[in-house]
Amino acid sequence: MSKNRLNIDIAEYKAARHPTELVAIGLGSCVGICLYDPVARIGGLAHVMLPDSTQATLSNNKGKFVDTAIPALIAEMSKLGADRSRLVAKIVGGAEMFNFANASDFMRIGKRNVEATIAALKTEKIPVIAQDTGKNYGRSIRFCTNDGKLYIKSINHGEKIM
């Protein structure tokens, strides 16, 4: 792995200046939230696994939840010099990996993660400019802070750039 590449594992978030690439491998029901300041060329990626920290018992891990990871990631990017008014978002993931015959909405964790992400970004007034979410397969992403391009790979569903 090159030193210009940062891996973001499940329940983590990281920000970086160009030319670093931010990588999240194996997003299933998790959502990869990519934020980008195209002028400062600063990017951030959060690999969140759950929609709502207020429904969980005490947790010290901000990267785990949509509602805590997004503000934390924005703060991290601001520290590097990003201007929050310029931020745009691309979101990937939120699949339903297991098909349960009688799944309640509560069990559709992928869908809930995506809905929570869109709502939280709206609150922060960050536009979602691209989205590849839902369905039933895992995705890996590589987010280039040079140009904000996002490369999406999966096992049986080819590659995609957005």
Binding site: D9, G28, C30, A56, F98
Partner: protein
Amino acid sequence: MVDMLNLNNLQLDALKEVGNIGAGNAATALSKMIKTRIEMSVPDIMILPFSRIAATIGGPDAHVTAIYYTIKGQAPGTLLFLIPVIDARKIAGVLLNKGVSDDQLPFDEMECSAIRELGNIMAGSFLNALNMFTSIHFVPTVPALCIDMVGAILGSVLTNLGMVSDYVLFIKTEFKYQGNHALGNLYFLPEAEALQVILNSLGVNN
């Protein structure tokens, strides 16, 4: 409630023994099903933050077949059986009495059903043995099958645990063919509540 970060050696050993007894029974069942001798490792017990789990099971991009059970009842948790895709194909071929299908094709309905059935029998054997050992009644839900990247599978599997903890405790046993060729890994992930119940039943609750 027991704190998984502060378990003593006696408690860790007791949990390993739980894994050993369950997996031993599951290995016997597996061995009968595929008519091949199966060996197993001594179980490992690991307590890790979420971000480190995928790395211990082959990396987040490893392509695996996962059979996943949610356990309900007094001791809730998760049972997860991961088999590399290539080995799952071989096993499905043996169970269905046919050759190994082309790697490039997705699993067909019969293969999926064979693998699910194998998982059913292994989960049943594992939980039966645990029930005999601890007198706890474990209730497995219907199995779910998924063939994809480890990382993508884990996100869904760990949802329940993520709601209550920043760490995951899991007991891992490796199954091997004779001659040490790995076949797959079985993971037992008791929730914090279940840890307490299991340790109580074994008399090592403090």
